[in-house]
């Protein structure tokens, strides 16, 4: 019979059990969720969408591998975080975008935004958001012609141009709400058109416990409330704001990013509401349709300060703890 003397017993301290959800498991869930908008993209824009995402993933993973190899750092491409960034970049440009813009985006996201500050967990900004804003600013001619799906791809105006800049009504040329929701006959970045698929992805991520649902809800909710007030309680106007552009896609996949978001519970609420306010301000006041990207980047930069002042009150204490800025 086996006895205690025949066994080597470990002495490490409690807890002695560990949850099975590791970083790579979490990241894989996001990858799975991203397949939903990818499927919609393939359906609406054709097989090139798939190749765009493949280019994004391959280049992101390669840049990460190369960087870590050159710097003699542990190779961490197995954690799937670069895969997410690559997919997000591939899904964040229109179907007409040349492949090289995706590669430049990956380089910027992985090398400049993620790896230079120290890699996973150390970046202040969301890599994919940074890449899309950078592309928008510097490579606009190649990535902003909005193409509606169909045989003879024609450039279309973004719906946001007609509701932006202090306009309070929805123009005639804007697609109907159902089209906006389903992504039918809609131009735009390939991953963002079908809000239906993004909502399914949202449900998946929430059920899996991967994202905190309050972040997308508060973000989109803030945009809805402010636009509804501004538009004189016009449901059409409000829904056009909510369903247009990157908002829902970014709210589900980008504002929920752990590293660049807030850490504390109240901080996350402030982060989401702040992103919503900034988005609507940029859209209406500056008439700048890409407001979502800037809004998230600004909140990214503010999140350490938000966390510092909104540290949770510890059980049994009267006040929030005074802490220094997270390093």
């Amino acid at each position: 019979m086996m006895s205690l003397q025949d066994m080597t017993l470990k002495m490490s301290a409690s807890p002695h059990l560990k949850s099975r959800r590791k970083t790579d498991w979490i990241m894989k869930q996001v990858v799975i969720a991203l397949f939903l908008p990818l499927l919609a993209a393939i359906y609406f824009f054709g097989i090139r969408s798939l190749f765009m995402v493949i280019v994004g993933v391959a280049s992101s993973v390669l840049f990460e591998y190369g960087f870590q190899k050159l710097r003699d750092q542990p190779i961490r491409i197995n954690d799937y975080s670069a895969v997410i960034t690559g997919m997000l970049i591939g899904l964040s440009v229109p179907v007409t975008a040349p492949y090289w813009t995706i590669i430049i985006g990956s380089f910027f996201a992985i090398v400049i935004i993620k790896q230079l500050p120290g890699g996973i967990g150390r970046n202040m900004f969301n890599p994919a958001v940074g890449a899309r804003v950078m592309l928008k600013v510097f490579f606009s001619p190649w990535i902003t012609n909005w193409v509606a799906p169909g045989a003879d791809a024609v450039s279309t105006a973004t719906p946001l141009e007609s509701i932006g800049h202090f306009s309070k009504t929805v123009g005639e040329e804007v697609p109907g709400l159902w089209d906006l929701f389903l992504g039918v006959n809609l131009g735009g970045n390939i991953g963002e058109t079908s809000k239906l698929m993004i909502l399914l992805a949202f449900v998946y991520l929430v059920v899996r416990g991967v994202i905190n649902m309050k972040i997308p809800l508060y973000y989109v909710g803030t945009v809805a409330v402010i636009s509804s007030i501004y538009g004189g309680y016009s449901v059409d106007y409000m829904m056009t704001h909510v369903l247009s552009g990157t908002l829902i896609f970014a709210a589900v996949f980008m504002a929920t990013d752990y590293t660049s978001g807030a850490l504390t519970p109240t901080g996350q609420t402030v982060f989401a509401i702040g992103a919503g306010l900034l988005t609507i301000v940029i859209r209406i006041v500056f008439n700048f349709p890409g407001g979502v990207g800037f809004a998230i980047l600004i909140m990214n930069a503010l999140s350490p300060v938000i966390d510092k002042y909104l540290a949770p009150r510890i059980y049994g204490h009267k006040k929030r703890p005074k802490v220094s800025l997270a390093k």
């Binding site: 017993l9 059990l17 994202i211 905190n212 850490l263 703890p321 005074k322």
Partner: protein, 441 residues
């Protein structure tokens, strides 16, 4: 189901449950051991001092070690026999002075603590609890009489009976609630005579419905006692959380439940109080679960305090696979031990054995700021920031972040997807903060 949990601030973790192996098993008498070991540090506070000498004959229920000061507890022999030695022996806290008694298997009883049960005043009852050596039997082993001694001007109005056994493998309290419901309720009624208590709750996790039924029956139509079924979440049974959940009060940092007019007592402790007051019996035995996948036939034992663990392992039929860790306690808070000579003590509610493959250490990866450690912390700490502060040598910051308020529940380390040893770091920080305080005072 394991992964189907929504992510929100929940002050606990849905840890895996492994109670099924023993929850349906009735409590059985553990075999008697020839050698009984009584470590002097089987409670929190000052260790007791032996009052017997080597060679002395002792009776069952005889005082063998006396409490030292207020926060300390008496120790009684749980068998009759002879004192074989008084020496250092392995205990759950490492080697410590212990009295070893050779059992004569006669169970010759010593006189009871009190000869009369009539006309006992509150003071008499409290003193019986104190003399009986009763401590928190849920695992904390804090002397019960201290918890029952409110400072002047603090009125007690709330009694919480803790039956929320949240550790992964434990079923000892669960079985006790089913099989000794009457005695537990009798104990509660005794406590109700001691203080002007306005509200009494028995807290039970919702996964153990059969114990609720047993207790309901025992309570009958006594409207003073209410059963509260709580969500099954770890650490639901932690005293501070329980008080917050049930009566929405927060024990001030560094304080006791008394500070918020509350007494929390574990179900086993209440039963022990009943036996002390009604029968004059000192604390001599308890219910302990011995379980884990490597154990052939896991059991809930009624076991005499002082019985070496090895005796219980044998009574369970030994091992069916190699074990990687033996724990005094459960997997979330238990202390690792290596010797089968470590005895069952007053706070041993469970001895768990983990399979070999479960004790491997996963590689640490960078923190991804998922905020899960914050979400599961029952006292609202930011474990990763304390851990970072400690690793950067900033002990002041660790203290400002509330390191001393950590209740050691283990949730943060359990949940962290990056395998960061959060609690290890927080413990180190606490040790350094304490060391510094002692130096400056």
């Amino acid at each position: 189901m394991l992964n189907m949990k929504l992510k929100y601030k929940r002050q606990g973790a849905y840890t895996e449950e492994r109670k099924s192996r023993t929850e349906k098993k009735s409590i059985i008498e553990a075999p008697l051991s020839e050698k009984m070991i009584y470590p002097m540090n089987m409670h929190i506070g000052k260790p007791a001092e032996p009052i017997v000498e080597v060679g002395d004959d002792v009776k069952m229920g005889q005082l063998i070690a006396e409490k030292q000061g207020f926060v300390s507890a008496n120790i009684y022999s749980s068998v009759s026999g002879t004192v074989e030695s008084i020496e250092e022996k392995p205990s759950m806290h490492g080697p410590h002075l212990a009295i070893v008694i050779k059992n004569d298997f006669k169970d010759t009883p010593a006189p009871a603590l009190t000869s009369t049960q009539e006309d006992l005043t509150s003071q008499d009852k409290l003193s019986l609890i104190e003399r009986a050596g009763i401590v928190g039997m849920g695992g904390a082993t804090f002397p019960t009489h201290v918890k029952l001694s409110p400072p002047k001007g603090k009125a007690i109005d709330t009694l919480i009976i803790n039956g929320a056994e949240c550790e992964t493998y434990s079923t000892a309290d669960h079985r006790l609630m089913i099989e000794s419901a009457e005695e537990i309720v009798a104990g509660i009624k005794e406590l109700l005579t001691l203080f002007p208590i306005k509200q009494t709750y028995i807290a039970i996790e919702s996964n153990v419905h059969d114990s609720v039924c047993a207790l309901k029956q025992a309570i009958g139509d006594d409207e003073r006692i209410q059963i509260k079924e709580l969500e099954t979440i770890y650490p639901q049974g932690a005293e501070k959380r329980l008080i917050k959940t049930l009566v929405n009060r927060e024990v001030p940092s560094g304080g006791l439940p008394l500070d918020v007019h509350t007494i929390v007592a574990n179900v086993s402790t209440v039963r022990a109080a009943h036996l002390a007051i009604q029968k004059g019996l000192p604390l001599m035995d308890r219910v302990t679960t011995v379980t884990g996948e490597p154990i052939k036939d896991p059991q809930n034992f009624r076991v005499r305090i002082g019985t070496p663990i090895q005796v219980l392992i044998d009574a369970c039929g030994g091992f069916v696979e190699k074990t990687g860790k033996m724990l005094h306690g459960g997997p979330m808070m238990g202390k690792p031990i290596t010797s089968g000579q470590v005895p069952i003590t007053k706070g041993t509610s469970v001895i768990s054995f983990l399979p070999k493959e479960e004790v491997k250490v996963d590689e640490r990866t960078p923190c991804i700021k998922c905020a899960e450690c914050l979400n599961v912390c029952p006292v609202n700490l930011q474990p990763i920031l304390i851990s970072n502060a400690y690793e950067q040598g900033d002990i002041d910051e660790a203290e400002r972040l509330g390191a001393m308020d950590c209740i050691d529940c283990g949730n943060c380390s359990y949940i962290c997807p990056a395998n960061i040893p959060l609690l290890d770091n927080i413990r180190q920080a606490k040790t350094e903060i304490k060391a510094r305080k002692e130096k400056s005072s």
